[in-house]
Symmetry: C2
Amino acid sequence: MSIHVHGYANHSATDKLVPFTFERRDPRGQDVVIDIKYCGVCHSDIHFARNEWGWTTYPFVPGHEIIGRVKSVGNKVSKFKAGDLVGVGCMVDSCRHCASCEEGLEQYCENGFTGTYGGDDKIGGTQYPKTFGGYSNIITADEHFVLRVPENLDPAGAAPLLCAGITTYSPLNHWKVSAGQKVGIIGLGGLGHMGVKFAHAMGAHVVMITTSPEKGADAKKLGANEVLISKDAKAMEAAQNKFDFLLNTIPVGHDVDPYMLLLKRDAVMVVVGSVEPLKKVDGINFIFKRRSMAGSLIGGIPETQEMLDFCGKHDITCEIEKIAIKDINTAYDRTVKGDVKYRFVIDMASLKTYTNRKE
Amino acid sequence: MSIHVHGYANHSATDKLVPFTFERRDPRGQDVVIDIKYCGVCHSDIHFARNEWGWTTYPFVPGHEIIGRVKSVGNKVSKFKAGDLVGVGCMVDSCRHCASCEEGLEQYCENGFTGTYGGDDKIGGTQYPKTFGGYSNIITADEHFVLRVPENLDPAGAAPLLCAGITTYSPLNHWKVSAGQKVGIIGLGGLGHMGVKFAHAMGAHVVMITTSPEKGADAKKLGANEVLISKDAKAMEAAQNKFDFLLNTIPVGHDVDPYMLLLKRDAVMVVVGSVEPLKKVDGINFIFKRRSMAGSLIGGIPETQEMLDFCGKHDITCEIEKIAIKDINTAYDRTVKGDVKYRFVIDMASLKTYTNRKE
């Protein structure tokens, strides 16, 4: 028996999100059915809903920063039981047998992971070819893609950990950021503010690199030790060759050269935000200090669990503004304007009131 | 007593190189005096002679791929004796006490290494503020910056090892290229042809990546296992995600995106050739496979010695065309046109005949 679900969807790139009911598959033995409590609003949700990457099909239900409680489990599920606090992030499926999947790096699945929304649903069992995300009251997922969320964390603040959290934790962890290192976080938004918190918790000397003194002041409250204003040419020059690691969260195409010069010999800048081409890049800055630029995509399932456990231990959640789902379209407009500190999270308790379409 | 030296210099950016006599410093206790037998012609010599980087002062004596025999040694020299076959590369001095120097990475000296030509001569002892290179019959250098050259190598073919050789060996070595890996060498010139030889000797499966089928055929003679024509969009697409390492020797600004896509997850492309800005770079190619782009500059003194020993063991030298020094200006024009396989080397025995200015 498939499961009736209430959610919000849009039906074309220019439509607003509106109430929408649909079905999720009849749970399999390895599936966990989750009552969604909160869902974060990621900028990717907006790109996708508005078809800014050109591959969206409609109806489209966004949401991949999902926190909820287990409602029921299949007879093959071993890791979870009803009532557990759990999360689902950007992935609900992958091939499970390629080299990347076998290393627990499902985000780099060589056959392509299935996105929590808008992905090709290879499991099937519904009338829809694409997956539907977490702007809804229930989700069904293979237990492999379900994460355990520490009970000491505020569940609303924990929701964006599933995307913004792991996207910043993974590169800091993979490139072994550690105590005593000087680490720059470039840009203070949904990603950057988590970068500051994680790098601080890892013991690094954290420098917020931003165009805005106001954002610098905010970053200090989140754990930054110093602020470097990127528009201040003298300060940028004085900071050259000083950084052990840079996490670049700028979400648009930009000139990376001034940032590359901040790196010490052999150090790396990891780009996680830019979905647009970077402007021309000066190879000389790479050559003269053997510097690197790398990219990083969310994180694998084992590392996402590690990140959540780290958050539980260090009491880290995201700074959020809670909204009712009826206000999602306003929240999208405010997100595009950068008018949010630092993530909107939908309180799914607000959903029932507004979902009243006939089924 | 300073040493009278015969060489070739130019006296302005638009002048040709002409015979020139000058003095080298009175050797110190740690100095080695070398009778130069051969000197390679590096494209950087031309950029410098023609002031294409804007910092050349004249008179200017190029040459940093130097092979010769020790003529005499100072009383503190322990590593060399008269008659030894030795080399001098791109550096003749560095601070010797910064973190990079202490790690044997003098090329990244935090106080700036002294280039073999056109560098600020901090040792002094001559009337010239800048160092003079190897287009000359004698050079004096601190024994730390003198390399031992295996006697089994052809000394003319060994000359370009001191720059083209170490520039390609160092990244292959630093990023641990090894047997069984699929390694792409992008571009077949002075650098690229050495990249092919080294990667082959290290046991890698070597793919020559070039616009030209003719260069591909040449690369196979040098040790490449396969050729990938970069203008063949279908072949490039079929080769995506297949490479463990890429060495990019293209000497001009270019679009790196098609090359980045060739890398496997977590693999790196190292840029050694481009002294011009790279065109816009698509961050997505970095993010989706956690790929990296890095740079690398020549190599440190210990690694340069290791490279020469590796060449001795594997009988590796450069493919060269020997010239008399009177033909250097023609050689420059041909180098700019890419009309050389793969490096001109000046036979310094040709120098005496043509150096007849009064001293």
